[in-house]
Symmetry: C2
Subunit: 168 residues, 2 copies
Amino acid sequence: MIYQTAILQFSKMLKNLLAILDKGAKSAEDRKFDVGVLLQSRLAPDQFNLIRQVQVLCDTAKVCAAALANKEIPSHPDTEQTLPELKQRIETVLSYLSTFSAADFANAQERRIARPRWEGKHMSGEEFLLQHALPNFYFHFTVAYEILRHNGVSIGKKDYLGELPYQK
Amino acid sequence: MIYQTAILQFSKMLKNLLAILDKGAKSAEDRKFDVGVLLQSRLAPDQFNLIRQVQVLCDTAKVCAAALANKEIPSHPDTEQTLPELKQRIETVLSYLSTFSAADFANAQERRIARPRWEGKHMSGEEFLLQHALPNFYFHFTVAYEILRHNGVSIGKKDYLGELPYQK
């Protein structure tokens, strides 16, 4: 289930995010303002703007996969300023996530996870996924979504969830 | 891991939400306005207000647990208007979640989940949890958090995540 969560579901959500950002661009074009206005928007003055929300979201997915599979974490310099650059950042993470297989997470649940800012402390892979990575990923995703929604972009729950695997 | 996610982690987040709502009440009191203003606030005119976000969040947790364990879903009439009533609603769900044990989810991953509005279609328990319940739960939680944050309540990522299980 770790592979399903940290790779397949996160990848699905990142694709949903690409589509949502495109709807933001279309809305800006229709309403005759620069999409950069949306990229620079935030929901509170002391909270990250849309660009930074997406960067953090990308890092959450990347770090989650790498830490649980005990691999090197690729570095991204957070230099994105435009929508194409931001979408490229998302594509880069999608491409990175696609290099993982279920076997990479064979020992992930019990793996000891440590992060630089944790000052030498650690938690298990399962704790890291459920209590840290998952809530953080959806937090930044939802804030990015809400920045657009708050600014009048016509998106809804279906854009957020994406296609659901209904069977007859 | 289903019990850890749908019961333990959701319960933890609901307790975080109780604390966040209390911070909202304190902020309203300090700034001399009725907390009802926050409860009626929303981030977009055609989106749910804070009360409704919390109600849907509560239902998402309740339905997730009941459906995955194949139990009857208790009904709640969505009549909450005040902060004490809203907190009571959350307490009711916390109490309901506490009746579950890990054994209740022994067959949850492969269980066929169907919901009234799905028009006879279904998905597996794992798909339901990862692609429906989890993203929905964190969506409504984050929107509730952001409604307060947008209205100047001083809360941060630690209030959202709660205590993390760091070990030395």
